[in-house]
Symmetry: C2
Subunit: 117 residues, 2 copies
């Protein structure tokens, strides 16, 4: 019986992670099931570039992502959703536009996981 990503606990629980470095102690299956989707969200080249665009500019509108990413509007919307569900970015609607910015805490969590001092 595969431990698919779909079986993972809700991502709302992400904040409850102890998240000590990988090198300290083996991850439990539950911790891994919560963390893996976050890293999987980073495991796509389009999302990496999307994220770097948002991070570098502080705040980016969805409509300004299609062109640099060379992807259709539905595809961009799909990727912003994945990143948002991973807690890596948050969106705020202002009028007709959707503005995205990164969530620095999530990156700090991942750096800690990767053994950052």
């Amino acid at each position: 019986m595969p431990a698919r990503i779909a079986d993972a606990p809700p991502l709302d629980r992400l904040d409850e992670l102890c998240c000590s470095p990988l090198t300290d102690a083996p991850l439990s299956a539950t911790e891994a099931a919560v963390l893996a989707p976050v890293l999987a969200a980073l495991g796509d080249p389009v999302r990496l570039r999307l994220l770097s665009l948002v991070a570098a500019q502080g705040e980016v509108c969805s409509c300004n992502l299609e062109e640099p990413l060379e992807r259709s509007q539905p595809t961009v919307s799909h990727h912003t959703r994945v990143l948002a569900e991973a807690g890596l970015i948050v969106g705020e609607r202002r009028g007709k536009w959707m503005w995205w910015r990164v969530v620095p805490d999530r990156f700090a969590l991942l750096r800690r996981l990767l053994g950052g001092a």
Copy 2:
């Protein structure tokens, strides 16, 4: 035309990455194509646990991974291969056994990517 992971440059080129933090400047498509597979390798719960087992123990034999991961031998072999191709672990054959250990440089690279000071 999708920019699939399969289209990414060989992972041998991983060392050539400039890898400035995501927040500094948007990633090029090429940089993203090289980095994404590394993060994708981390985006699986079984591989995360495998990695933490290796990291926490310094060195682990393949035969000591099947039981804690609750996966068959071919599946464990598959995951070690993926992590090794991502440059996150290296294996060394000693007699009949295959010993795995982590590659700290890769983790430092990822921490830097994630905006580590």
